[in-house]
Amino acid sequence: MHSTNETNLNRRALLGATAALALIAGFRPVAARALTTTDAASLVAKVTTELLAIVNTGQSEAQTLPRFEAMFDRYADVPLIARSILGAPWRTASDAQRNGFVAAFRGYLARKYGKQFREYKGASVEIGTASDQGRKGVLVKSTVKVPGKAPFLVEWQVTDAGGSTRLFNLIIEGVSMLSTERAEVAAILEAQRGSVDKLIADLGRRG
């Protein structure tokens, strides 16, 4: 009897351990498929190839804009970027305001950075090193060569924090899109006396 109890206890412990292992195993595929430097570099290669294809079509700004916006949607984690940029007001915003901000911010990004990308007509991009930055993701370096100009550095921070492998930050010659746009959004919000709705309307007119 005594020994049976002990066996039961052991069995229970074993079952518990097995369940715990199964739980861990359940998460394993995610861990095993964690972001690699190769994934990040190939994402950046795909993005830069598509970007250059768009700017080299010679289409007008109005024609290329929706294409840039679609690219931001597909390759960047816009919701993650948007809430990181809005900061504290995100927590108190309603769902409608959050969705409105993400949409307005996406359009603003596409207009502002699309205009900048259009200057890279005829450029070629060389993908450099991809370095693992732990929980900060992977940083991929690239060199953009525009004919007749000195080459310049563009860095891409790739993350899977939002569940899939996406761009989180774009750093042109050291200047971080996240820092720049966070300061912008903070300044607009201050000018609009903290109103998220007015911020959304204002962003829609910018870029």
């Binding site: 860095e155 921070q157 750093i171 010659e173 050291g174 996240l178």
Partner: protein
């Protein structure tokens, strides 16, 4: 300006303290007014009236004359590779490039490795100090401003040129700066006139660009944490 009085968290760093923000913002408003009234109109007139090959030639000559200063600073930083590249670039462009008018070195893949005494001070471990916006000269830091003063004093070109040629040298430099305002007009116009807070935008752009130039890219500690907002 006393370097010992500089306060900062690190020698490089993509951010700098801004204790002079109120004064800096006044200087920024002044600089913007000067740009709007004088620099931008002059740049647009120059860029439209003077053909690109001529402007390019002036840019090449001034860029070439900046190389001896870069060379000295690369040496002071102990960067023999950059010093060597700068030396060959200067030699190639001063001879086959017709005194720098053309840029055969760039065709050979030898690009300018810009540097200054502010960067030399950084390599020597001098802290960046506070952010300052200088009248007419624009964004700077206490360290970069000290570097600027030293660069002007040690510029080899100002010792080699005859005093009669110095006004031409300074005029060429000023013309090239006006040309740069034209060449980068879309970026500068967006920064100064389309930003919600152009002072903050210029400050961030200047400091982050400086830090990346020094470190060969963004430092790991300056990268943002994508999980930060969830905590």
């Amino acid at each position: 300006m006393s370097l010992a009085g500089c306060t900062d968290t690190g020698a490089g760093g993509a951010d700098a303290p801004d204790p002079y923000a109120p004064a800096n913002r006044q200087v920024h408003a002044f600089n913007k007014a000067v740009d709007r009234a004088l620099v931008r109109p002059a740049a647009m007139a120059y860029g439209t009236a003077v053909p690109k090959p001529v402007r390019g030639g002036i840019d090449n000559v001034t860029a070439n004359l900046a190389l001896p200063g870069y060379f000295i600073n690369h040496l002071l930083q102990g960067d023999a590779a950059s010093a060597g590249e700068t030396f060959f670039r200067f030699g190639l462009n001063s001879t086959f490039g017709l005194a720098g008018l053309r840029d055969p070195a760039a065709d050979a893949g030898l690009f300018t490795r810009k540097t200054d005494f502010g960067e030399t001070l950084a390599v020597w471990g001098v802290r960046q100090g506070a952010y300052v916006e200088l009248p007419l000269l624009g964004p700077s830091t206490e360290r970069a401003f000290a570097g600027r003063v030293v660069d002007t004093a040690i510029n080899p070109v100002s010792y080699v040129l005859r005093s009669g040629d110095l006004p031409t040298y300074y005029a060429l430099n000023a013309t090239s700066l006006i040309g740069a305002r034209y060449d980068y007009r879309s970026i500068v116009d967006a920064l100064l006139y389309e930003s919600a807070d152009s002072y903050a935008a210029q400050r961030i752009a200047y400091l982050q660009n400086k830090a990346a130039n020094l470190g060969g890219g963004t430092a790991a500690e300056d990268l943002e944490d994508p999980y930060a907002f969830d905590q």
